[in-house]
C-alpha cells in the first residue's frame, strides 16, 4: 500500500481537522501511556512512540483502539503495523478520515 501524503488543501477540503489538530488529539490519547513528561510536552511529527515516549509496545494496540474511537475510523492491520511515529499515525488518520468523508 502506498501512503498518500495529503496536501493541506486536500486535507481541509475533506475533513474538519487539520494536521495540527490531529496531532493535538493524538497527544491527549498517548499521554496516559507515557511517563516521559518532557517528550510528551514536545511532541511533534518526528516523535517515535517507543523510542521517544517509551511506550510499552504492548500498549500500541490500545492506542489504536483509542484512535478508532476518537476519530470514528477503522484501522486495518497493515496500517496498524505502520503506526509507530506521530508522522505515520497522523497520515493514516488523515487518510481514513478522508476515505470516510469521500
Amino acid at each position: 500500500m502506498v501512503l498518500v501524503i495529503l496536501t493541506p488543501a486536500l486535507f481541509f477540503k475533506n475533513t474538519p481537522m487539520n494536521k495540527e489538530e490531529i496531532i493535538e488529539a493524538l497527544k491527549t490519547i498517548v499521554e496516559p501511556y507515557s511517563e516521559e513528561v518532557s517528550a510528551l510536552a514536545h511532541i511533534d511529527e518526528n516523535t517515535d512512540f517507543i523510542n521517544d515516549l517509551k511506550i510499552n509496545s504492548a500498549n500500541l494496540v490500545d492506542i489504536v483502539l483509542d484512535i478508532e474511537e476518537k476519530f470514528n475510523i477503522e484501522i486495518d492491520n497493515d496500517s496498524m503495523a505502520k503506526m509507530l511515529t506521530v508522522k505515520a499515525t497522523t497520515e493514516i488518520i488523515a487518510q481514513k478520515l478522508e476515505a470516510n468523508a469521500g
Partner: protein, 425 residues
Amino acid sequence: MGNRVVITGLGVCAPNGTTIDEFSDAIKKGLSGIRHQPDLEALNFSCQIAGKPVLSEERISQYFTPLELRNLNSTGIIYGVIAGLDAWKDAGLTIENNEEPDWDSGTIFGAGTSGIDKFRWAINKIDALEIKKLGSSVVIQTMASGVSAFISGKLGLGNQVSTNSSACATGAESILLAYERIKTGQATRMLAGSTSDSGPYIWGGFDAMKVCTFKHNHEPEKGSRPMSETASGFVPGSGAGALVLESLESAVARKAKIYGEVLGGHINSGGQRGLGTMTAPNPTAVQRCIQIALKNAGIEAQEIDVINGHLTATTKDALEIENWKAALELPADDFPYINSVKGMIGHCIAASGSIECVASMLELSEGFIFPNINCEDLSPEVTTLIDAKCIPQTLIQQPINILAKASFGFGDINACIIFQKYTHE
C-alpha cells in the same frame, strides 16, 4: 539443616478487614464480613450471601497507575497486589525504582483462576466478532500468573516469580514453597500468598454443586457455621493474604520485626484412592500430611497450642477433627485449641489458606486465640471427639508457642504448616 525461615511482613485483604490493624481487630472481636449480595440474588443463586473485601476507589488507586486502572477488571489481582504490597511495606522493605531487579527476592503468589470478570468480557467480545477490541489488557489479567506478574513488576523482584494453584490448599502451599526456597538458600526473601476473585462467575460452580449454604440468606452473618450442628454448607468468600518470608539471618541483620518462624510442614495428596475422590479427602493422606509436618518441624503433637483448621462449615468438619485427632493421637480432654477463620469470612477458596495464616501469625505474635463464631450449637459429632473447651467461643488472651495450620483442597490435596513464636534474642 538449611536456613531458618521467619515471617517479617503481613498483608491482608479480607471480607472483614483490608488492613492488618482492621483484620486483627475483627478476628479478636469475632466480626463477620459476610453480607447479602444483590447480584447473587438477581442471578437466582441458592446461596445469596458471600464475603467480599470492601475497598474504596481511592484505596485501590494507591496501588495501581491510572493506566493500569483503565481496564482493570480482575478483583483477584486487586486484592493480591494490595495484600502483597502491604506485606512488603509491613516488613520494612521499600519499593525501589532501581535499574537492577532484586535478585534475592521473589514471590510465589497463588490463585485458582485470574480475572474471571475480565475473561467473561473478553469472551463476549470475541463472540460478538469484536476480537480487536480486546486490546492488550486481557492476557495479563486472565493468565493464572497475572497476580504474581503484577506484584513482581511493582516490587522489582528478580528471584523466582510464580503462581501456584492447588484449589483450597493454594495459600498454605504458597508458604511452604516459599519456605523451601529460602531454606535451601535459593532466595533470601519470598513474598508468599494467594488470592481469589469475587463474584457470581467464580462462585457459581460451587453453588451448583450444592456445597454452599442456602439457609441463611436472611441472616448473612450467621451463615458460616464451622463445627456447628446447624452447619449447612460453606459461604463463598474472596480476598487475599500475603506474608513476607525471609531467612532469619537476613531478618536479624536488618533488625526486622519478626512475627514468627516456619518450623516446617508437608504437602501431599490422597491420590483419589481409598476414601479419597476429586472432592472428598482421603483420611489416610490427611493424617499422614499432619504427622509428616510435625516430624519435618521436629515437634511432638502435645507441643501444639492451637490448630487453625480448614473447617469450612460443611458436614465434613467432624471428619477433619477426627483426622486431626487420629494424626495427633491426643485425648479429647487434652486436645489443642482449634479455631476457624471461616466463621467470620466464609471460605475464600484459593485465598483461604493465606488469609488464615495471616490470622495465625497475628495470634502467635500478639498472644491471643481468636473466637470461633456461629458454633454456639456445637455439633455432637465434634464434641464426642474433643472437649468443647478446646473450641473457644470468646477471645482468649494468652501467649502461644506453636500453631499448626492445615488446608485441604479439591483434587484430594493437603498442606500442613507448623509455625512457632519467635523470641527475639
